[in-house]
Amino acid sequence: MPIKFKALSYIYNKDMPYAHKALDHIDLNIRENVVTAVIGETGSGKSTLVEHLNALLLPSEGSLEILDYEIRANEKQRFLKPLRKDVGLVFQFSEYQLFEETVIKDVAFGPINFGFPPQEALKRAADALKLVGVDEDHFEVSPLELSGGQKRRVAIAGIIACDPKVIVLDEPTAGLDPQGAKEIIELFIDLNKKQGKTLIIVSHDNEMVYNYCDDTVVLSKGKLVYHGPTDELFADKEKLKEFNMLEPQIVSFRNELIDKGFRLSKEARTLDKIAEEIAKQVKR
């Protein structure tokens, strides 16, 4: 079942003189089990959109269907906890949410809140930490003593350990070095491929979006302006111009290769894949 936004609007400071419509009649069906990017300029409503997914914000108008839950405007929510367990949200600069005495306790905090027995919560925490690449000898250290990149990993493990079905990432790699950013993104892509988790990624990084995301949603001033396959968006120069977006370097490079007479498949979106396909053609 897709995630359905139905004529959803959100107004900040409703009924105040300085009210501000952050989302304007969004009709959107996000596919399950795929990776969807949400892009748009600063202030376009990306964060507001994703904060609806686990009911941190409730719609001012319209409704949202996600998994088995339905969130309607002006209605009290009854199923906040199960919804928030199933839809994990990793915030921008998520390292600021760490507070427990030890890394392992912090990661187990979410699972315990969502009702896992302590033993199982600790086991989930340990598994999640190993998955994000935090060594076992760091488990009993205070999370506040770790480096920035390590903190981010611990915070992300804190969400993964809750075993959400949908994972929402708000600029998950902001402020990380390129290598660290790549590792984090590939970790989530892996979760999508192996466990079928639905991923929704808010990002400014068009290269990353092009490399990893199946679908792309473009917002502009609170309105939905594009939703469709990522490769179609980036192949459409008119649209890129209209949305004030730069063509990713890899797309330019691909186009130049095609102009030179190489045949490249749709899947060849990364340097490695492109090199592989060219190598085959050169050999023949």
Partner: protein
């Protein structure tokens, strides 16, 4: 969080906004004096009328003033209860069961409440019409004479302006951390006491760590730009008293004088 009204600056343009912050600060002290001296309801009414004119000039809605009273309601009830229990003079107004409520108790409480409300309105008028940075400039100027007894006026003013500057930032940070913890299943509204404590901890600990981090960064940034506490500094924005500022202070002096005089003649 956005409902906080007390102390909030309203960035619009009005005659009150254009007054010199020092004049407004002096006016604040004079008016608070004027509110505390009188014993007659007529004087309170007169002060309230002057205040209403000032509010009109500042283009501040009465709604904002009423909202700034809200946090005081508990205190007023508390005052009323304490006064009813302790003041046993005057006529008996009515009795609850066998307990008598005296006229003086009610009137004393009303007096204190009216004084408090007037004071809050005056303070709200000041903070709503004065940009926090201008306000600290004003405070610094008022504290200047104390430098003779080695009071660090400039440093105190700097501390106050930094604190004011960071209130919105910290509120934003609080909302962000609350959202992050809600996403991890924390319920800030319901739950048993132990759950509530853990919920508060999950907010306070990150908030402190962020606040300290920001403080270090700010200190570094200030040092990088050559800030030396106590060094002689020039200002980009120089405060100047104009005719209307003198006029404003004069009006406040007249109100204070009037209210002192009322003690003798009314």
């Amino acid at each position: 969080m956005n409902d906080l009204v007390f102390g909030k600056y309203i960035p619009i343009d009005s005659e009150m906004h254009k007054l010199d912050p020092r004049a407004k600060l002096i006016g604040l002290f004079l008016m608070i004096g004027a509110v505390f001296v009188p014993k007659s309801w007529w004087v309170f009414l007169a002060i309230a009328l002057c205040l209403a004119v000032a509010l009109l000039m500042a283009k501040i809605g009465i709604r904002m003033i009423v909202q700034s009273f809200k946090p005081m309601i508990m205190m007023m009830i508390f005052l009323l209860v304490i006064n009813s229990l302790t003041i046993r003079t005057g006529d008996i107004l009515f009795t609850i069961g066998s307990f008598a409520i005296y006229k003086d108790a009610i009137f004393n409480t009303l007096f204190v409440i009216v004084r408090l409300l007037l004071m809050i309105s005056i303070t709200t008028l000041l903070t709503a019409t004065t940009n926090p940075l201008d306000l600290t400039l004003g405070i610094e100027w008022l504290l200047k004479p104390l430098e003779a007894i080695r009071f660090p006026a400039h440093e105190v003013a700097m501390m106050v302006s930094i604190a004011l500057r960071f209130i919105p930032t910290i509120i934003e940070e609080t909302m962000r951390i609350m959202n992050a913890q809600k996403s991890r299943g924390v319920d800030f509204e319901n739950g048993r006491l132990s759950e509530k404590i853990s919920a508060i901890l999950s907010l306070i600990v990150p908030l402190f760590s962020v606040a300290f981090e920001r403080a270090y960064e700010l200190a570094d940034a200030m040092e990088a730009r050559g800030y030396v506490p106590g060094a002689k500094r020039t200002r980009y924005h120089v405060l100047k008293f104009r005719f209307k500022d003198y006029l404003f202070i004069f009006i406040c002096v007249v109100i204070l004088a009037g209210s002192i005089a009322s003690r003798f003649y009314l």
